[in-house]
Symmetry: C2
Subunit: 917 residues, 2 copies
């Protein structure tokens, strides 16, 4: 964790692979390595790095020759080039004030580390530059609510005590005033020890900033990211705080996080959000805070979901339609399900399906989907409040995100400039400072067309599965095996859903890569826009991918079947598939895709792939360095060695994406599957710890990034919430049997009960109207059947317009549509109401922010006042001396601080004088 | 305009009426008035005010006795009490640094003025306290867009040159950097003349602030508003800049505003918004800017509206349904419109109505209502942008609105405190600092119940008018006069609409008062919340009031008629009214209410009522002072006399309310009346000048109020915009014939044309099914009629279910509802898209704001640097002297400015040092 002097802390590590040419040591050349040094010893450098064989040669020959002239192989030349870049870069780093320690490159090839330490003067300078808010000496009390509320929160705290993570907490009732660090006002801050004033996360952030902006002169390239992209360095990472597992070692934050957060054993505990933020930075802290809130919110919704499900279970016996369906006495002879090979069948054979349907398709689901729409609004509102609270306690109010152009953007701009100069010299340089619409056109076009293509691909996959279902069902129904034929439906549905799932999983991976590539083509200006566009694209593609088959089942399947005697055919002889118990099928589809996706993609992939990658990398490393004996690693691996063997952190996008898609499953089709929140909850309880474990044990320490909100994810969540209202309205009205039942009960039923509902929904068909060749073959009771029934509202054969849609059909359709309008507007109105009633900023926080402003002003005024007194005492002394030259000019010793408070929650900022006469 | 010394400017005027007791001058008492003084002369006071008779007595008697003891009449005592309060208040004002000039109270009763002047030291102190942004010396160029855009804007400017008001403009390409005024940094500002550095509006604002917070000791009351409420003063107002009419006098801003803005003659010109803002303050400036933008936006919409109307006119000849209706050959014998007295009638007699209907009820209206929904979104977006632009140019960015509790709130709080103290001594004082839910409960309850009652009242008014229509129609149809009977419909409709209009106008006035009273009951804490709640309540009541009859006509009238043979009766014998040409009636209703409201309420009331009030006041004044000869007024009236005779300014709420209700007419039912935007435009062109004229010529100068936005009005506008989508969807689908026509053309018509549509929409009724006693009496062709027709989709008498809703009915209903869903979601989606595509802050403004920040930093750094140099030179001189005492301590002369930029568009704020050694 420290340099060899055991004093200076390692704040950042750069790792690289090196290959050395074998040097023919010329006699009398530069000092050969002293043999008494141990193999693992390093040169502690501040300015002196190990000299390569080439340099030694150059030194010996006394002149600088380019590597090429020395007759190096291309591979060696590349290696040499990298070495030069590294050397230059490290020299620049040292010029920026960083201190560097390097391992000795004592093998012909291998891994070497550059360890970086930032001394106090660099830290303080950069902290001022980056406007990092640091706590000042001033503490102030956080005003708590009095009366009943305080007592309630106390009781709550005591009740949840075993659920609280055992993390040493600062005094929660006091908050120290934070203020952007300034070297001029050092006296304001509570600096006990210059080594620990900035914590590890801040130190590494500062170093990262320097690494980012330090150039290598040779290639006009900027910063570490370009160097890593060019393979000059393998990796750059801050160090973890220490081991997380060893039992007897002293406590460190990583170990604490592991023990209290990143284990499955503590799944029931709250997350130590403040510690997470301290260790990983605000951006990751916000992610886990969001995930925690989401998981908490899933608890009530899954409870209600389970109640709705049980309501279905309990009322199943009293449900008249399913009873009627199962009643053998009501012999509804149904029309055959396929041409020729299928026989007439009795409706009571679908009894099980009807009963199962009732579990999900009952009036309680209507209530549940209204509940979930409001739940989504409430969740978003609460998140806004929590975010505000966190940004107050984490001192993020007034954080200005800086916009550095991305390197790729700058490269493109440079190319453009060069091009412009070549063609027209007289072009106004000022106007060409940014990429115009014309430059971006190809990128946008490529984006648009490829995204369109991808969406088409998804749709065709859905279509393919549909065709698969139709053909397989037809093929299986030819089968002579009786069991095969009886299980056609189950077999087909199950295999189709699994195919769907596999397609989704594969396309998901492809789409992730495509979205990234497309965004790079676009060349967005800043890192932030890059991230936003990437997320939008990836979300769009993955959303369509995940939900297209579900949409198909919910709204299209079984709606374009035609009617007996005039079926719709996909191909010759293949009828469109019929839907039986729409909501049931939707439910199956939804649950399998949701569970499958969660189990396979999230958990299996997330655990398995990193392990595989690690294994692969290990194998590769072993293969490339087979001959050398790994004395280093085997002896006593240092923290940097350990961290190097971990996976690099690649961003939070996949984590968020996974959760957002899940949020979609929970809200969008919740009317059809009330257990979705429960499954999501179970998944998330694991997910939190899984992610935590990944961050603590399997990833290199991520760079700490400041962020005041979760950015575009919030917009996506809110869009999903809005979409869910209309989708649920359609699911209830179109997919479920809710409306037809209601209509029957209140409009058509003779006695106001549901008796006769099944009969009412089935239309008659005159068997003699079946087209020649489509009649069932080998039907044992073909002779007895005059009319068969099918599920639709059509005129009977004996009416003047046989088989046309009946009055009931249109009446039910009107009712369905009216329900959609009513539901959508009611729920939207309620959502707006909830949104309006819950203030975005919690009242106590907005009061605290106001208070903080005034405390800050007071604090500085006091500090100034004290200094003023000091100054005055000197001045009084000064005055006793004769002041002929400057007589008549008053010495205005009073400090005039002007406090201007910016408009929105930002901190009053000012500067004060420091006249130490 | 000035004090008697002709130097000090009058910044504010207080006016009061006085009554003097007739003093019995005792011999030897305080100096009687010197007779050589002119009657109009005044005592220029700074400390010395005219002594009242009472004081003279007191002085003479040598002791202070209370007025009561002296045996004054109660009226006199009150008068005396007021005088004491005035004296005290004026003394306090003088203590605050204001200078005062008073007229001599030389009559037994009359009007007297207190003129107030704020000297420089008061102005500068208050400007610093109020953080008024003042221009600094630094100017910077506003970067303009280059290339084609610049040329376009130049062309635009040249084209509109005659439309630009001829107002002297500052250099529009340069903007001087503004910074909150600070006396310490006086050197930063461009102070040429201390008398004109703060313009009149700012000066009066400052004085107003002092007037507001200066207490009178006696009654624990705060500020001028309480004093005016208690009639201690009659009025308090800043002075206008001078006469607006005299031709030869020198130019002043008021005259300029009158000439270039507040005349009907310049109706075609743009408004000089910057001048308006300068003269009336930001709040009024924003109102006129908003009104201007709204009026401009009405131009395209009224053009499109007129085109839609003309499309109707042109296509009227080719409209098959109305042709069919007018065709005498198609003899549709319609069922009688009332029982017994009405005869069968031929549909072709309603030909004119059908043709007129087509003007408004054609496919183009669907397009137009989509257009108007997007128009509304676009308007709101553009307003956001304009507001942002104005707040940049008016230096409102970073403006923090301060929240002073209202006097009423404080009084209530005081009462509560006293009460609490009386009952329980041990109550925690801290917690009682605000009014709790319990204290407010009665107010809220009263609010809720009264608002509910008011809404009920509106509905019952609508109901009353409906009943009036039914009964009158019935009564008139008994009439034996043929012409009366033939004009029943016209008479009834016209009178009913006029009654509606009158009811609306009366209730509007009542509701305005009720809303105000209700809000006062609520005791909101700050002026801002008071205004917001008042507006919300007034808007709710007036909205319901204005639109209830229109809603009735659009969605309810004629929908619950029943059918021939089974009509719905309101009372015995009075059938529910039928609707013929729904959209047409809606259109009539809408246009009459809209036009009537605009003409009568807005213009007549706005012009007439102030005139009446003025007349009334004049009469009253003359009546109360009949005996005195008005020598003062007749001679040479001063500006304060002139201004006193004007109306006081009472807030912008009525102006906004009027426009917002109009916005509702323009957007909510635009589908039924495409000419609404045109009428609104015509009204607004007058309205702008009318308001302008009112402000410039008829009102006392309003206090300038700063505001960064139009506040809650924006939310109301945006809600109306959202509501308009769903209402228009229903108007098109339910009220208009659009959907049935479409359905007929594509589903029922034999040949895809509209031929036969009329026949299709009419159901058959077997005349023999008419109930006994309801058959038409005295019908000439009662014998020939077997079937009569009525407009509905019902089964014919010969079907198995006679007179039930037919299949077509339900099919059309489904189509209507489907259209609502489609329309609503499509338009909402488009609106969101428009909202998302237009950035809220114009790009150039956001760039300018960024630039301003950096310019500000540079500017101050430079200023500091120059001072630093000066300081250093002194220090160098200082160093030559021996400094044994403070040796070892460095003089850090460098100025350290710390710039912290707040997060959102707010100004970088800081303070700098001023060491003038």
């Amino acid at each position: 964790m420290h340099f060899r002097d055991n004093k200076r802390k390692v704040d950042y590590v750069l790792a690289y692979h090196y290959r050395k040419r074998v040097c023919q040591h010329q006699p009398g050349s530069g000092s050969p390595e002293p043999p008494h040094r141990s193999a693992s010893s390093a040169i502690v450098s501040n300015g002196e790095t190990g000299k390569s064989c080439l340099e030694q040669q150059q030194q010996s020959s006394g002149e600088h020759e380019s590597p090429g002239q020395l007759g190096l192989s291309p591979l060696d030349a590349l290696e040499e080039e990298k070495r030069v870049q590294r050397k230059e870069y490290e020299r620049n780093l040292m010029e920026a004030g960083l201190e560097i320690e390097k391992d000795l490159e004592n093998k012909s090839q291998g891994l070497s580390f550059v360890r970086i330490h930032a001394p106090w003067h660099v830290l303080s300078r950069e902290a001022e530059l980056l406007k990092i808010k640091m706590p000042t000496k001033k503490m102030y009390e956080i005003k708590e609510e009095g009366g009943i509320l305080m007592k309630l929160s106390e009781i709550w705290f005591r009740l949840t005590e075993p659920l609280q993570p055992q993390v040493p907490q600062d005094n929660t009732k006091m908050k120290s005033l934070s203020y952007p660090f300034s070297r001029e006002k050092m006296y304001l801050y509570n600096i006990k020890d210059k080594d620990t004033f900035f914590d590890n996360a801040t130190r590494s952030r500062i170093v990262r900033e320097i690494l980012k902006r330090t150039p290598t002169n040779s290639r006009n390239s900027m910063g570490i990211s370009t160097l890593i992209a060019n393979n000059v360095y393998d990796a750059a990472y801050p160090l973890h705080d220490g081991e997380y597992e060893d039992q007897n070692g002293e406590m460190n934050e990583r170990k604490l996080l592991y023990q209290e957060w990143a284990r499955y054993g503590v799944f029931y505990k709250f997350q130590p959000i403040d510690l997470i933020r301290k260790y990983f930075g605000e951006k990751i802290g916000l992610y886990f805070a969001w995930l925690g809130l989401y998981t908490e919110f899933l608890i009530p919704s899954s409870v209600v979901g389970v109640i709705v499900f049980f309501y279905g279970c309990i009322t199943i016996e009293s449900d008249i339609p399913s009873k009627e369906m199962c009643d053998q006495h009501n012999a509804f002879t149904m029309c055959p399900l396929c041409d020729k090979f299928c026989d007439y069948w009795n409706l009571s054979s679908a009894c099980a399906m009807a009963r199962a349907s009732h579990l999900f398709d009952n009036p309680a689901t209507v209530f549940f989907s209204i509940f979930m729409a409001l739940w989504a609004t409430m969740f978003l509102e609460q998140w806004k409040r929590l975010q505000m609270r966190l940004s107050y306690f984490w001192d993020l109010t007034g954080l200005e995100e800086e916009e550095h152009p991305r390197p790729e953007y700058e490269t493109k701009l440079l190319q453009k400039k060069l091009k412009t100069k070549n063609t027209t010299e007289n072009a106004n340089e000022d106007e060409k400072e940014k990429l115009t619409w014309r430059d971006r056109m190809p990128g946008y076009l490529a984006n648009f067309s490829l995204i369109l293509f991808m969406i088409m691909l998804t749709f065709s996959a859905v279509l393919g599965v549909m065709v698969y279902r139709i053909t397989t069902a037809a093929a299986l129904s030819f089968s002579t095996n009786e069991t095969t034929r009886s299980n056609v439906r189950v077999t087909v549905t199950a295999t189709a859903v699994i195919i769907n799932l596999v397609v989704i999983l594969i396309l998901d991976e492809i789409y992730g890569a495509v979205a990234k590539w497309l965004t790079e083509i676009e060349v967005p200006k800043t890192e932030k826009t890059f991230e936003e566009r990437l997320i939008l694209k990836a979300f769009l593609l993955k959303f369509v991918n995940s939900y297209a088959p579900i949409f198909y089942v919910a709204f299209f399947k079984g709606r374009f079947v035609g009617r007996p005697g005039r079926y719709l055919y996909v191909f010759d002889g293949y009828r469109m598939e019929e839907a039986r118990g729409c909501l049931m099928e939707l439910c199956i589809q939804l649950s399998i895709i949701m569970l499958g996706k969660q189990l396979i993609q999230n958990n299996l992939f997330e655990i398995g792939i990193p392990k595989l990658k690690k294994l692969f990398r290990k194998l590769k490393d072993e293969r490339t360095e087979p001959k050398e004996i790994n004395t280093n690693q085997s002896k006593d691996p240092q923290q940097w060695d350990l961290d190097y063997s971990l996976e690099p952190f690649t961003g939070l996008t996949p984590e968020y994406m996974e959760m957002i898609i899940q949020f979609g499953f929970v809200t969008l089709f919740v009317a059809s599957f009330p257990l979705a929140p429960l499954f999501a909850l179970l998944n998330n309880i694991i997910e939190v710890r899984l992610d935590a474990k990944k961050f603590v044990t399997e990833l290199r320490r991520p760079d700490t990034v400041r962020a005041k909100d979760i950015g575009i994810w919030y917009n996506i969540l809110s869009s999903i919430g809005k979409l869910s209202v209309i989708i649920n309205a359609f699911v209830i009205s179109v997919t479920s049997d809710f409306i037809p039942r209601l209509m029957y009960q209140y409009a058509y039923s003779q006695n106001g009960t549901m008796h006769g509902f099944i009969n009412h929904t089935l239309s008659y068909f005159n068997v003699s109207h079946l087209k020649a060749g489509t009649q069932p073959e080998n039907s044992p009771f073909a002779q007895d059947v005059l009319f068969c029934r099918f599920k639709d509202y059509r005129e009977p054969p004996w009416s003047p317009n046989p088989y046309e849609f009946s009055r009931q059909y249109w009446a039910v359709l009107s009712a369905r549509l009216a329900f959609v309008i009513l539901f959508q507007n009611l729920v939207m109105f309620l959502s707006v109401l909830v949104d309006w009633m819950i203030p975005d900023i919690p009242k106590d926080i907005s009061e605290q922010i106001k208070k903080e402003k005034s405390v800050l002003v007071d604090f500085f005024l006091k500090e100034e006042h004290e200094k003023l007194k000091l100054t005055e005492s000197f001045i009084t002394r000064d005055k006793h001396r004769p002041q002929s030259g400057i007589k008549g000019q008053r010495i205005r010793a009073a400090s005039f601080c002007h406090f201007s408070q910016s408009q929105k929650g930002s901190l009053a900022s000012f500067s004060s004088r420091h006249t130490e006469v």
